[in-house]
């Protein structure tokens, strides 16, 4: 542990439940180590709040190693904070300086209603996945790996798309609250692989329709999503989603 600790001023969005209004509440945090992760710093704050008999700050977290997509904090005006390709749980306090004010807000989008404080309901993503983000496979013997040849670059690209952890940073960062990067990653990942081809048309149509139904905005290609995605998902996948969609609507029977 580093010897010198920092004092951080936090402004955190507090909101009792879905239906209440909310506001930024200021907390001063002495004794913050630069080696702490951002979420550990919040744990420390909560420990203090609980000891004082106050309500702890609700925030989403699970794996704390950047793979589950649960953490979702809008930190100082950026989804997952100021670093690129990093989730909030992988952010460390050494990114900030002594005396700094850090503003923490929840993801803001109509399809992501706030449940409490910094926790939002992202089940809209689950509903999009449920209408097409899968392949239908009959059970039976596992086919031999070499029976379905896939070129290395194609496999790589499908893997890049599959890296999406569904955190919703793309929606949070987009000025239109659009979910195009998320949906494009999920459509791309399967459209690229032979296993995904059978349900290609139905998948893209259903997922795009559900995305619109949930109330996400329309993509105007600002590419803020790509810049904020902790998994560096490229907007090339959005181009592919658009191609898949046009193909489904105009070419494929």
């Amino acid at each position: 542990m580093s010897e010198n600790t920092m004092t951080i001023k936090l402004k955190i969005w507090r909101q009792k439940d879905r239906n209440s209004g909310g506001q930024l509440v200021t907390y001063t945090m002495p004794g913050v180590s630069p080696d702490m992760s951002f979420l550990e710093m919040l744990d420390l704050l909560n420990l203090d709040l609980v000891r004082k008999g106050e309500d702890a700050v609700a925030f989403d977290h699970d794996c704390r190693e950047g793979i589950c997509g649960t953490c979702s904090l809008y930190i100082n005006g950026r989804a997952h904070g100021p670093l690129r390709g990093v989730t909030a749980c992988q952010l460390h306090m050494r990114t900030f300086h002594d005396g700094e004010t850090i503003v923490i807000e929840p993801w803001r989008a109509k399809p992501f209603p706030i449940i409490k404080d910094l926790v939002v309901d992202r089940s809209a993503f689950d509903r999009i996945m449920a209408v097409g983000g899968f392949i239908s496979v009959k059970t039976g013997g596992t086919p031999d790996g070499n029976a379905i040849p896939i070129a290395k670059p194609v496999a790589e690209e499908a893997m890049d798309a599959a890296a999406c952890i569904g955190c919703g940073a793309c929606v949070a960062a987009c000025k239109n609250g659009s979910a195009m990067l998320f949906v494009s990653a999920k459509v791309s990942q399967l459209a690229l692989l032979p296993q995904g081809h059978a349900e290609r048309k139905a998948r893209v149509e259903a997922m795009v329709a559900q995305m619109d139904e949930e109330g996400f905005g329309n993509c105007s290609n600002t590419y803020a999503c790509e810049a904020e995605c902790p998994k560096n998902i490229s907007v090339e996948h959005i181009a592919r989603l658009n191609r898949e969609y046009l193909r489904a609507k105009f070419i494929q029977e």
């Binding site: 503003v103 807000e105 000025k175 905005g217 090339e236 969609y245």
Partner: protein, 208 residues
Amino acid sequence: MALSGLFLCSFLVIHLTINLFALQANHDKTAESFWGAEMFETYGHFMATHPVIRPLEWGLFAGFLLHAILGIYLYLLNRKARPVQYEVNKAGENSTWSSRFGWLTGILVGVFLVVHVNTFFVQSRFFGQEPMIRLMIEAFSSPAYVAFYMVALVFLAYHLKHGFQSAFQTFGLRAGKFEKLVNAVGVVFWLLIPIGFAIIPLYFLFAY
């Protein structure tokens, strides 16, 4: 949106091509007999009277209207996807100004177009006997009017800096090998075309 935008882009090319002929007017101040100026007037006359072009004119007008209405409608619709704004939002760190303010640069280009169409199109079609080149010489003798054009062209440049490649992204064509091509042609559209247009009023103001 993307289709109407690219349609307007194609119009810009034709518009600029014809207008650049007007630069030749310098060589003969009566603007009656020189080749370039004559071409300009001939094309202008052709455009104004030809039975095929007249319906296209309505098409162009409809194209602008559709583009503007659709653009503003989508902008307002998208705002609804975030009813509560962030208290702190550093959008400048993840996206370009031109990409976030396409709606604003579009509206400003639209304001310019109203003035522009009134100065030239309305005057020559409904009121004027004067040749177009006279209207240009007259209008562009005012530094204030020329300055207004320069500002409008900067907005057009920003509008197209985002808009051109955005339209190709919407069609799924800004990817792989095409990405470089789209970006290169994009520079022609957002940089060279506004510069081309800017030359004309500047020329009439300073060199004529």
